[in-house]
């Protein structure tokens, strides 16, 4: 089937969950209530690093309305975690950061629960803290004294305060540096950024008479949450049921368990349903933000600006627990290599523990940090060599069939097309239209995360289909994209596809709404389910129509064979009477491409699946006195392989750029002596509608081999390039790069002042 013949896929159709969401009818996890429900709150450490000598809950327990209090002493002593099993539900013998959970209370009202928190007495004995990741690398202080006893993925290399260390090595970088025309070394830093979802993390838990706990929550990964909860509760997984009524945004901040465990444990303790929802303060002090990082980058070039070698190190500040830090840090290595041919690479990632909030996998983890360093340095080199930054990129970008950093082969490569289209759209020929105004460009590549998907598809007696997936509709329209593929394959309209909510008890497994994979992978599973349904329907139709299966096709909701036809609805009714109904299980998994394992060490994601390519260009003005940035225009050219629904792809691009503008210019969780100084939405500055210009999206379609109809992952890439593109435009406008995120007006003004003096 080719694109122009598609009736449903490729069209700008309204999403299936849209009406409910814009009319307020849609039930989000935060709306969820049960009768007799208690309210849970969490007591959090006021010390950055301290021994916990005593926790006295007796005064709190005596408060009327308090139904249960739990601390580490009341629960199974389990350590969990994705890469490193270093995490506990509550601080055990020591508090590791300000915000670390110490105890949880369930009470008949939130106010009573809060009063109870205030009545819990905790005796601490302070330990010397570590806040600076570079200091943590050198220090004798151990944030996890028992780190050697923790279980971890075998691939993860750990050492003392290092939660994970990975390398990519290609060729002989040292030799290349020695004979290069020029070598450049720069240091960049990026800040801790909250994912900024609208709905805080929330969970309601209830135990039934059979000892099964149901958790209604807003996780992006219901099956991962189920597994982790089963470990924490010390139960078989089948006795934990996770269901997601609706999710008000996640952006990677709701991948791993947030408050579900507190709700489940409190509900077990009190034998009542318990709801726990994090406050804004908890979101900014104890959620799973994007890690702060330091990137040191060294690059060798020849006279023409060809990249001869790059070496570098990214230090990712994980906070008190590894979280996704080891993986995030390792992924940065592929981002630092970029969509460029480079003779030699010597990259290292280090994920480091500090006494700060543990961090997570915010949209394109490591992408913007590594890209900011890598792409700003390209511009710095171009400036020094007197080259046009676009021209320098075009000289170095990968072409079809070139090897990637892990030795994999780049296929369906579109980076040159993306760069040229973004540059043309922004008016690259005139980079400094007036004083204080400049244009910048940046490009990157990014993976489409693998992982398996399963769907059940049932044909209803009215001829409609029901799609049961274990993937959450996170708000991007991803499940609508999968439904479009299903409708296309079954000759249905999109409105004929009903999508159910996720329930781990009933839905087939899905790796989850993460990694730009939902439409891609669930879509592939839908292709498989549709093929199976066609087989079932054709078999049944062969009996009814007395026609050979080879002659059959689906057309306009009918099985057609020559001049004979029967409706899908009729077949569904016949099957119900005679064959138990039309139902199919479709599955999909994208195998990792071949690569050279000698290049990659201790890397949990050694090679990227179905990469996408993209370029961003921005036109902005900088107030020469105040440093204030005004973005005039912003253009994105993104290769999506095949645009299953262009409207929602544009939505993804616009949203990602908005988050990227926040990271570039304004957002930062500010720590001082281990305490967050802006733990509220007044001083944590996400951009508003007034700060984000209209985003111009150019959809590039260079089909992949693995995606449905050639699609590639879409969701994460748009937030990768904004810091670099904006940084380069600021440099074009002012002559200087503020090498640290966020590039606030104050930092830009300071950089301009240094330049002038």
């Amino acid at each position: 089937m080719s694109a122009h013949t598609h009736r449903v896929a490729g069209h700008r159709l309204p999403r299936r969950d849209g009406v409910g969401k814009v009319t307020g009818k849609h039930v989000y996890a935060a709306d969820f209530k049960l009768s007799g429900m208690l309210y849970g709150r969490v007591l959090r450490s006021t010390r950055a690093h301290a021994l916990i000598k005593k926790i006295d809950t007796s005064r709190a327990a005596a408060i009327a309305g308090v139904r249960g209090i739990i601390t580490s002493a009341d629960i199974p002593q389990i350590r969990y975690g994705t890469a490193v099993r270093d995490t506990t539900v509550f601080a055990t013998d020591r508090a590791l950061f300000i915000g670390h959970a110490i105890a949880a209370v369930a009470a008949t009202s939130l106010e009573i629960a809060e009063r109870a928190l205030a009545a819990i007495e905790v005796e601490y004995e302070d330990l010397p803290p570590l806040f600076d990741p570079e200091e943590a690398l050198k220090s004798d202080i151990r944030i996890h004294p028992d780190w050697e006893t923790y279980k971890a993925l075998p691939i993860i290399s750990r050492n003392r305060n290092i939660a994970g260390q990975a390398r990519i090595r290609v060729g002989d970088a040292e030799a290349a540096f020695a004979k290069a025309h020029k070598v450049y070394e720069h240091r960049f830093s990026t800040a801790l950024q909250h994912p900024g979802y609208t709905e805080p993390r929330v969970a309601t838990a209830d135990w039934d008479a059979n000892g099964i706990v149901t958790v209604w929550c807003n996780t992006q990964l219901p099956f991962d949450t189920q597994t982790t909860l089963a470990e924490i509760l010390d139960l078989p997984a089948a006795r934990v049921r996770v269901t997601v009524p609706g999710i008000g945004g996640g952006f990677g901040g709701k991948l791993r368990i947030g408050v579900e465990h507190f709700a489940a444990l409190l509900a077990r303790k009190t034998a009542r349903p318990v709801k726990v929802m994090s406050t804004s303060e908890e979101e900014l002090t104890a959620a799973l933000p994007r890690q702060a990082s330091i990137v040191l980058l060294k690059t060798a070039v020849d006279k023409e600006g060809h990249l001869l070698a790059r070496s570098g190190r990214i230090i990712v500040d994980c906070g008190a627990y590894a979280g996704s830090g080891p993986g995030t840090a390792a992924i940065a290595l592929q981002v630092m290599a970029g969509p460029y041919k480079t003779g030699a690479l010597a990259f290292e990632s280090v994920a480091v523990y500090t006494n700060k909030v543990h961090s997570g996998s915010f949209r394109a983890p490591a992408g913007p940090m590594a890209n900011f360093a890598m792409e700003c340095q390209i511009d710095m080199i171009a400036k020094d060599l007197g080259l046009d930054p676009l021209e320098m990129r075009l000289r170095n970008v990968v072409k079809e069939g070139d090897p990637g950093p892990s030795g994999e082969i780049h296929r369906s490569v579109s980076i040159e097309e993306c760069l040229r289209k973004a540059a043309d759209a922004i008016g690259w020929h005139d980079r400094n239209p007036e004083p204080g105004r400049g244009k910048g460009i940046a490009c990157s590549w990014w993976m489409t995360t693998g992982g398996s998907s399963g769907v059940y598809v049932k044909i209803n007696p009215d001829g409609s289909a029901t799609l049961v997936s274990g993937a959450v509709e996170i708000g991007t329209g991803a499940i609508t994209g999968a439904a479009q593929i299903l409708a296309e394959e079954l000759s249905l309209d999109l409105t004929d596809v009903n999508v159910t909510g996720v329930d781990t008890q009933a839905a087939p497994f899905d790796y989850g709404a993460q990694g730009s994979r939902t439409t891609f992978s669930v879509g592939n599973a839908c292709l498989a389910a549709a093929a199976e349904l066609r087989r079932q329907m054709f078999e049944l139709a062969a009996e009814q129509l007395e026609a050979p299966i080879e002659d059959m096709k689906l057309q306009d909701k009918h099985v057609v064979a020559g001049n004979k036809s029967i409706s899908i609805a009729e077949l569904a009714r016949i099957s119900r009477l005679a064959g138990g109904g039309l139902i199919a299980h479709g599955t999909a998994i994208s195998p990792a491409p071949a690569y050279d394992p000698t290049r990659v060490q201790n890397h949990p994601l050694p090679v990227w699946n179905t990469p996408s390519y993209h370029a961003h260009a921005v036109d902005l003005s900088v107030d020469q006195a105040t440093g204030k940035v005004t973005i005039n225009r912003y253009v994105v050219a993104q290769d999506v392989g095949y645009a299953i629904n262009p409207t929602y792809i544009e939505g993804q691009i616009e949203g990602g750029v908005a988050q990227g503008i926040g990271q570039a210019l304004s957002e930062e969780i500010v720590y001082q002596d281990g305490r967050v100084m802006n733990a509220n939405l007044t001083d944590y500055k996400m951009p508003t509608a007034m700060d984000v210009p209209e985003i111009e999206s150019i959809i590039v379609e260079c089909r992949s081999a693995a995606g449905p109809y050639g699609a590639k992952g879409v969701g994460e890439p748009p937030c990768i390039e904004p810091p670099a593109a904006i940084g380069n435009a600021i440099a074009a406008a002012t002559g200087c790069w503020p090498n640290s995120l966020p590039m606030t007006a104050e930092k830009i003004a300071a950089a301009m002042q240094v330049q002038h003096s």
Partner: protein, 291 residues
Amino acid sequence: MSFDLHRPATVTEAVDLAQRFAPTARYVAGGTDTVIQINRKKIDPAHLIDVACLPGMSEITETADAFALGALTKYRSIETHPAFRGNLRVLLEAASVVGGHQVRNIATIGGNIVNASPAADFVPPLLALDASLDITGPKGRRSVALRDFIVGPGRTNLSPVEIVTSIRFTKLPARSATAFLKEGRRRAMEISVVCVAACLTLEASTSRCACVRLAIGAASPKAFRPEQAEGYLIGKPAGNESFAEAGRLAAEASSPISDVRASAGYRRGLVAVMVERALTTCLQRIREQNQ
């Protein structure tokens, strides 16, 4: 958090309630600050006296030579009032950058004043207009100049039982203009890093400054008038050179803090730039009036 909510019908009733429940009572109007303070546990009043619906306190009244703004006037009303599109534009400009639309539809200008935040956006414009406040309390009415009313960050000379009922200022003479500038990290829902209000009057037949009132927010414990800068300009030709010097003097007079929003040094630099720019805007506006 729990409190009794009282809805008095008159100012007298409100004052009576405040007296009865002092010191655990607190007035609330738009609630855009009080509710946040309650949520953040900065205050814990047992009684909230809701004055939002008190009659006669939401009007903007124009007389031959003055304006009176009811203390319950919403920012939205200031933003849309035709009287503030001319030489009183400073009011419109400040009102339109407070919070976002939702905040401006409910927050009151009286609340902004009595809250006495050093970064309050509506205080500098009123200081630049030399506004005074009408206050009602148990002992009756009194009037006080705004510049004497705010004494420090979050502190005023209002007793807990008194209510600000209106804000008054006189109209500006011919050859006058005003301007308001605000700098922050984003363009809406933002607390000023520095804000500046300027009111400039030129001599009748020259381009010399006859009267200058400047007011600066978020650069001192309370919004202030840089008197040296104002005095310096009197009789000086209005223009880049004198305005830059006024900016320098205003920056010298400021005493900003370093906090999570900005450093003291950056704030001081902003004061100089913004004072100069606000005055330049005033001058442009006066010239446009005469065209």
